[in-house]
Symmetry: C2
Subunit: 413 residues, 2 copies
């Protein structure tokens, strides 16, 4: 009988989202009149930019005409899109990234997961993640057999966890144990912290000294408001030798339901085979991407291209400014309540310390019960997230104002 | 330093497509006036059905209005699409497949590759493929470490190859060696052969007796013209206990550039863990699909939904009939030349025996040189494909007629 990948059996049930759902449903059942406002969701709410809508209408028409119809495109994405990405996202910020180092895909979640395909199976590489962490990084390593069993608490044996808390300014400390791979997400989900140039230089330096591969997730770079902060790890000298960068149109241009992202694999990146042979990672990913993937919809790629026009950039900026206006309101309201508030300046997520020693879930129940507001318990992202709570600024202004008014009036801290 | 997945180094260069390109370019360089007709390509040429174009325009408009905007959808696909698939593709043909056993994805190439994620890593399962074979099945097993090295010729050590040739009517023989997994593709790429009910019953019976998992690729089922042939493996009693089925909108509705497919994993399917524990494959795939994938574009899913309307079915039928009209012309022309011709009746591919003992590449060079017509050498799909040649009916009628006229006038057999 066919044998299954037993690494999947190590996975703890992804209990965060279902548990939130269970508690909200139970509360709603007992309080049918409560108008619950959900501020836990990391999904956009505003419509697509008008330039994207127009570009997609035109592309749909192309697909309806024989002479303009497109079948299979290049798996890596059309050149007209990759060239604009190279110019606008990278060259314009001084990063030496060529168009053919960019792979267009259908999502950063997929890419951060699939990248493991080209790395050694089993427990060969030592892998570090931050704590708290975007759960996909951990779960996909468990599935790939890169970890041992789950330990008491929330950690998997074999992974190196780098705690990021208020005490270290949410900047992941360099790993004392030498690691082969480290995931860095900046601006960060869930903490909302963005790494500065010095932080990134320390990591690039570490990676060069220890021959570590940095998997840099910049899905929220468009939310950076501080002009001194890097948007790409390739703004740091030497990063081309150590880092893969993941970017997404999901949060930039509202593509969570449209699906487009990109991964940068510089041709200067290498790994080793068991026999010590140096192997080009770009070549491996090219083989993976062209064998196991068939490209992103032509229509979607036209929408992504539209984001790079001057008008597209203006429209994207406007939507992000709107979300960041929500973030500002949330921050201000929580500070006024006397809470310790982080994030929400260069990221759409506000990360708040729970007051009075409450656990993340106790604070969740308190906000739900007293204000009918739902957020995300920080402990759901890792042990070091315990005692924190995430609020998302992806919402209507009306909901944000109403939620903050309720917090002020109803919640007794 | 990070270690790479050295299984990738076992991959022979995918030399079929580049070698065709090299020979065509060399010929064109020497004969700049030759008007070369490409009949090797497995990609659609006709525009999208009008119902899909209309559905996508409406969906794009939805995405431009705040009240109708859709962000992340269910990773498995929207219920309105999965329910139509269950009703029209399965219930209507007597297959007991529930909507929640259907996973919508962005391509069958991806799914047939990704399914390996939930199966045991390394060389635990014995895996059978047909010969000739769609190369992705083989390459992805090599990447996953399910094989040994490539041997002299074209085979990988550890895989079981089931030759399908004119001698056995292109029906894969039951494996003498017990196998854990077998790939069946019907209607077949590249041979154009479709398995009948009796063939499928033999395989389902084999799979039940040997506890084998059948990976059934039905990407070309819409091309079946013989009403006695099954379109789904679930038309065979007992298949729910042994088979996963892959389907695609690529060739059905011309979605090669739009990207939508589906995989059926019945809840009755199980595998075993190392300790002998029975594990539900549906649950494993659900975990894989929701962790490593973020769903198909809302706009694309609306286009797929439109295929299931009565008018959509009529338009899809019309396009397929057009391609099959090409196939008929190709078959008739080749038969008139005295060649042994297979396929092209229930599949868009015509599979022809090369005359006079020519190898596949010799016949390629002959057609290119004498008629300026490009096809695909059968040997590129496996050793048992040697001495065969594939012509595709995905083309304009004009090109097909011109190519066949040249074959008649210019090629000396």
């Amino acid at each position: 009988m066919v044998q299954i990948n037993a690494n999947y059996l190590k996975l703890k049930a992804g209990d965060l989202v279902p548990e939130i759902g269970r508690r909200v449903a139970a509360y709603q059942a007992g309080h049918p009149d409560a108008k619950i406002i959900r501020m836990g969701i990391g999904d956009v709410t505003e419509p697509l930019p008008a330039v994207c809508v127009a570009a997609m209408h035109a592309a749909v028409d192309d697909m309806g005409r024989r002479e303009d119809f497109r079948g299979y495109g290049p798996e890596q994405g059309y050149a007209w899109l990759r060239e604009k990405i190279a110019a606008r996202d990278f060259a314009a910020r001084g990063c030496a990234i060529e168009a053919d180092e960019i792979f267009v895909s259908d999502g950063s979640k997929c890419d951060t997961a699939n990248i493991l395909d080209i790395l050694a199976p089993g427990r060969v590489n030592v892998i570090a993640v931050t704590d708290p962490v975007y759960p996909v990084y951990v779960d996909t390593n468990v599935m790939a057999g890169h970890t041992g069993e789950a330990r008491e608490g929330a950690e998997y044996e074999g992974l190196v966890y780098l705690p990021t808390t208020a005490e270290n300014g949410f900047a992941p400390p360099l790993s004392e144990r030498r690691v082969d791979i480290v995931y860095l997400c900046s601006p960060n989900n869930p903490t909302g912290a963005a790494l500065g140039r010095v932080d990134l230089e320390r990591w690039v330096d570490y990676a060069r000294r220890h021959e570590t591969l940095i998997l840099f997730d910049a899905a929220y770079e468009a939310y950076i408001t501080d002009p001194s902060l890097p948007h790409s790890i390739y703004e740091i000298d030497g990063a081309r030798e150590v880092a893969i960068e993941f970017r997404s149109f999901s949060k930039t241009a509202g593509f969570t339901g449209v699906r487009c992202a990109l991964t940068v694999i510089p041709k200067t990146l290498t790994g080793t085979a068991e026999n010590g042979e140096r192997v080009d990672l770009h070549r491996l990913w090219m083989r993976r991407h062209t064998t196991k993937f068939n490209g992103v919809s032509y229509i979607t790629q036209r929408a992504a291209e539209a984001v790079y026009s001057d008008e597209g950039r203006r429209q994207v900026r406007e939507t992000i400014d709107f979300y960041m206006g929500n973030a500002k309101i949330i921050r201000k309201s929580l500070v006024a309540l006397g809470l310790s508030v982080y994030g929400g300046v260069n990221a759409p997520y506000v990360w708040v310390k729970t007051p009075g020693g409450l656990t993340s879930w106790e604070f969740f129940d308190k906000l739900l019960g007293e204000a009918h507001v739902v957020g995300t318990p920080g402990s759901g992202f890792g042990q070091a997230g315990e005692g924190y709570f995430r609020l998302s600024s992806f919402n209507s202004r009306e909901n944000v104002l109403e939620a903050m008014a309720r917090l002020k009036e109803k919640v007794r801290l």
